[in-house]
Symmetry: C2
Subunit: 470 residues, 2 copies
């Protein structure tokens, strides 16, 4: 990997006519971290809305073998935008000028810097819905969501970001501008480059525009909160709902530690003594969701819920969902360092995964909180620690490794929605096998022979291990 | 490309201990065609259920540079399984022994030779649904559906085959057995090889097992038939329904030629004088679909439908959908050779596409019938001709080329669900551009350096043109 020299900076400045080139250390420092671990200073940061300029910069980077790190709002929990080998950071959050909704095509077109919540709003203004709803949607860019294939609670019924991307404009690692897919919902013309690029964590190119599929906005929704004295019963209720013929739009789990943390943070009458809460949202036709909410309540009671609440007003519904949203900010009060995982298991393994997580918590004596998108098997075990306590961080490292191993043993995966990035790269071969990982590497090499595009992500470097205690 | 020699056959026979090796010309002839154009005799046909034996055969083929053609039931309309360079055909329709439904995981596991309709049945027995429903589902294998990323009418609401595949077992072109994805609905661990392989038309490997996502079966459905004196009004009604907040499970169009063909074939009281029919299915909660059917009727009437019928009994509903299914067999009565296209446009362009198709029909003096999945922009213009009439077939060639060009001009794609295969390969660069096609070729080359896996598909050979008149 080469460093950016003064003469490179000169060439970069001659290319970037419409934007900014940042070289001061204080400016560059703002681009050295994300919402995960570690700090890496880039050599130079570029802000431009011009695709033409970005193409020229990628060509320069490829010629000179300088790493390129595309970046949105850097809310990544896996290190996606971290400039681990220095080089150039492209701040694509400035590319927020295109957001068009084509009502008749049920399509939106967006540039990568648009905030995801703005896409939600634009769609809703036309009676439409862009379903993917990562918790960060009010601060994260669609470009980041695309790179990481973000999920969110609505994944249960509606799937993830990838399921709503039908076309892309992409700068390849060698600086060619290509268009994949298009404005049609069905397209089998050659290989599906769209779905290959979405979720490739910025390692196969830079997305400069996306065509997103929208759906009619469901006219009504109902919320159900079920309170359990046993986490295992809650797990069983989730399974029963999913085999009852009803597909909720959301089905979220909060364990006792999450409930207590939220009540300490902002009390709203959640039962501190309950071992688990399930929050369920049903959306669709008003008559359907009313009836389905009753059915879901019945299933929960049969599965052992001690209480089921159905909020009646919009304000009451929002109060319930606010509790779920507060988990992340609330648990940081426990300890300052939060390691948020997203190991995902087949749905039937949710109760067993919960049990194993409790074992890991005790074995390594860590602060572990479990919540997440239980309906699709995507739990978020969060470990709270203090990164200045080296001994504790070593225990955390071991616990994280065991969480990954457990998920894979149960037929699951390292990452449901956060991505591999830097932290999970050492575990890739464990899940994929050497041959599976090799087929991914072949694609990377064929597209990016000089390894300039977001290097240091996804693929483990020789002998790489998880290190949190440095 | 090398031919299979006697010594190869000897080696093949030594590998295939549990299956059959067919070398007689009469046996091989059965494997020389599919439901599209052309006849190509393979050198040898292998039937085995053993993944181990298939792995050894692929290694042999790769070492000796012998083409390998995986094949299901050969219902392909684009030439997917045609052994255009001879070599070995793997008859995977015999690999039909695995079909397991894991109710709690909402997952089915199937081997490639299982008929798609058997997956439908197995899911329904557990109250679940495997949504993809290509018209061929009672005769096509899931392996073929996966290779071609099959669609079908339910694509409108539920998407296509790819949207329901979460894991694969695949033999790579160099004979490595890899597993992609898994049993979780969320998975962002590395590149999405699952969605790359599904729809790659057998050019990137041989699928030996698939993990399919199921959903709860919607408890009720309603059908609406709307009759129009104007094809353009029918197009407008489709747009209005899609922006009314309702997402039908199916929305199919039949033009006058289709209506008349079906009435001549098996009369069921369809209006011969109508310029278009729309058939709509709504599925979901019983109360919801009843109300939505009323709303859809109202929208159709406002858009100029002269009559709207809502069948009341299950038998009446089936009668309506039978008419749609009869279009394909009915139109073959017009002339013996059917060229079934699937050019797809953004939804807003459906009325314009219909208009342009009428122009092409007149310009080239061809028998053109238009029907298909209008709700997702995936029309099926079918040309009826007689392949022994060279002069007519030359006009058909020109008309087909103009249909492709028109779809792309309108922002659409060459293929919505049939695949590229042999016939559409010459048009790939027109849609993708040289750089876009090159990025696909790089993947092919990186995975299959000896070009043994289904060669002659997707990628145009130098100077290749569409020829139907030979």
């Amino acid at each position: 990997m080469k460093k950016v020299t003064d003469s490179h900076v000169k060439e970069i400045r001659s290319i970037v006519k419409t934007g900014r080139v940042l070289t001061n250390e204080s400016d560059r420092f703002s681009y050295s971290f994300d919402a995960s671990f570690g700090t890496y200073l880039p050599d130079v940061v570029i802000q431009t809305k011009s695709v033409e300029e970005l193409v020229a910069l990628v060509k320069l980077a490829n010629r000179e073998k300088i790493p390129v790190y595309p970046r949105g709002q850097a809310t990544s929990l896996s290190g996606g935008p971290l400039p681990v080998h220095g080089g150039m950071v492209f701040d694509l959050s400035v590319m927020n000028d295109v957001l068009e909704v084509y009502e008749e095509d049920l399509v939106a077109v967006a540039s990568p810097g648009v905030l995801t919540s703005n896409i939600h709003k634009a769609a809703e203004q036309k009676g439409l819905l862009y379903p993917p709803d990562p918790s960060s949607s009010h601060v994260s860019t669609i470009g980041g969501n695309l790179a990481e294939n973000s999920g969110g609670p609505r994944g249960l019924k509606y799937g993830v970001t990838k399921d709503y991307v039908i076309g892309l404009e992409v700068i390849t690692p060698e600086g060619e501008l290509i268009r994949t897919g298009g404005r049609t919902v069905k397209n089998v013309t050659g290989y599906d480059l769209t779905k290959l690029i979405v979720g490739s964590e910025g390692t196969l190119g830079i997305i400069t525009k996306a065509i997103l599929r929208l759906i009619p906005k469901p006219p009504a929704s109902e919320t159900v909160m079920a309170i359990f004295d046993s986490l295992v019963d809650a797990g069983k209720a989730i399974s029963k709902i999913l085999t009852s013929g009803i597909l909720p739009s959301k089905m979220e789990l909060m364990d006792q530690a999450s409930i207590v943390a939220v009540e300490n943070y902002e009390p709203s009458g959640l039962p501190r003594d309950a071992e688990a809460l399930i929050l369920i949202e049903l959306d669709g036709h008003p008559l359907a969701v009313k009836d389905e909410a009753e059915q879901v309540s019945k299933v929960c009671k049969e599965a052992g819920a001690r209480e089921v609440r159905i909020p009646q007003t919009q304000a009451e519904k929002e109060e319930v969902w606010k509790a779920r949203k507060l988990v992340s900010p609330a648990i940081v009060r426990i300890k300052p360092t939060k390691i948020s995982e997203d190991a995902t298991v087949p749905r039937s393994q949710i109760p067993e995964m919960c049990r194993r997580l409790q074992e890991i918590k005790i074995k390594y004596n860590i602060h572990l909180v479990v919540f997440g998108h239980a309906g699709d098997g995507n739990l978020h075990p969060n470990i709270l620690a203090d990164k200045s306590d080296k001994e504790e961080m070593r225990r955390v490292e071991q616990a994280v490794a065991e969480i990954f191993e457990t998920a894979i043993q149960l037929g699951g995966t390292l990452s449901g929605e956060h991505g591999i990035g830097t932290m999970k790269a050492p575990f890739m071969e464990m899940e994929l096998g050497a041959a599976g990982l090799d087929m991914m590497k072949r694609i990377k090499l064929a597209w990016d022979p000089n390894h300039i595009m977001n290097p240091g992500k996804i693929f483990p470097e020789p002998g790489q291990k998880l290190v949190l205690s440095e």
